[in-house]
Amino acid sequence: MRTINSNQIQQAIKALFIEANYFLSEDVLNRLRKYEQIEASEIGKEMLCKIVENAELAANQKVAICQDTGMSVVFVELGQEVHIEGINITDAINEGVRQAYKDGYLRKSVVMDPLNRVNTNDNTPAVIHYDIVAGDNIKIQAMPKGFGSENMSAIKMLKPSDGVEGIIDFVVETVQKAGANPCPPIIVGIGIGGTMEKAAILSKKSLLRSLDEKNNNPYYTDLENMLLTRINNLGIGPQGLGGITTALAVKIESYPTHMAGLPVAVNITCHASRHKEIVL
């Protein structure tokens, strides 16, 4: 048994959300630079250049890359050999979010009731996904998720007979429908299998993978490449004003499913794809 104080978790969460909002990771920056070289639209090229410059400015001045500093999504892998002392872990995470958004000058974008819509003024509560795993560590992944792209995400319960063609059609249709709204270039996260909510969580989790990391299943690597090709041939381009840079990457995660089903979820994130992690 290893003891970790809740204060350590709170501090980690605060630091992760501030860092994620200020510093765009190298894998995303490298992709943006790559696409800037190959983009066929002149105005598209210029926009990609400005996106990179903006990320550099944010990092230098230590301000948020984008004003939509997101709803705070947290993935926790809690080792079952860990004992947490202090306050309850969920409260510690929310306190960390509260401090990050206040002290980091991040926008408070969360409303308490989806219909009544009064701002909570501290960006809490976070959306937290817990996994109990072996070991005596806690892995925390923080993802400020902007809603321009979240709003364009979709889920569909396909029939097994729809097969991979059904998945391709649904993904391409979702990106086409999203058009300029999710701030292309986007990253497309796809969850295939499980149940309805499992597919949705997988699609979000896939967005936490580095863009440089290959899928460890070659079949899905091929499908990711094929979908990226289909998506970038739609012509949507940077900001929907035409071009070949509609998506920087497609990421797939899968899970066993019921013999009667083929759930598929598409979670889109914008070019400001922000996530940071730590292992305590």
């Binding site: 301000v63 984008c66 000058y105 041939n233 012509g235 004003l241 071009g243």
Partner: protein
Amino acid sequence: MYKKINTPLSSEVVKSLKVGEQLLISGTIYSARDAAHKRMLEDLDKDGKMPIDVNGQIIYYAGPCPPKPGSVSGPYGPTTSGRMDKYSPRLIEEGLMGMMGKGDRADAVIESMIKNKSVYLAVIGGLGAYTSTLIKSLEVIAYDELGAEALIKIEVEDFPAIVAIDCEGNNLYRTEPDKYKNKFDINMINR
């Protein structure tokens, strides 16, 4: 290649703006998101007026981060304009001449733009940090309790935007993507 314009706009200026033109805007603009739009129209229904006279004005669909000490504004990029589609035709009828945000607009908004001579400008989404450097002053005009969704008056200098839909209804979102269909090959990035 950039055309400089000042606010408030006149009908002549609006009519002169052609789709695809890149602009640098200076002067006062107002920013409002969904909640402020809803409140403005509720005020108009109830009191016959809104907290601002929209005649000739530009509304920027955005809500900023709080400013760090010593700076005028926090990051201040555009939000998705489509969420304001429900409210825009009414504001255009009240004299609103410009809207600024990201993404395509509904047909009903475009029809109202053509009829009343109004223009829609695209701002690059996600350039929050850069955009904040162009804001010279910032003042909450109404609905302070909405936080980041308040109605805000800002002064900008050389604020870049692209004429995405002009007052004749020419629309980049609907004409440009076709030109770039089937021009991508995966080897372009895997090389």
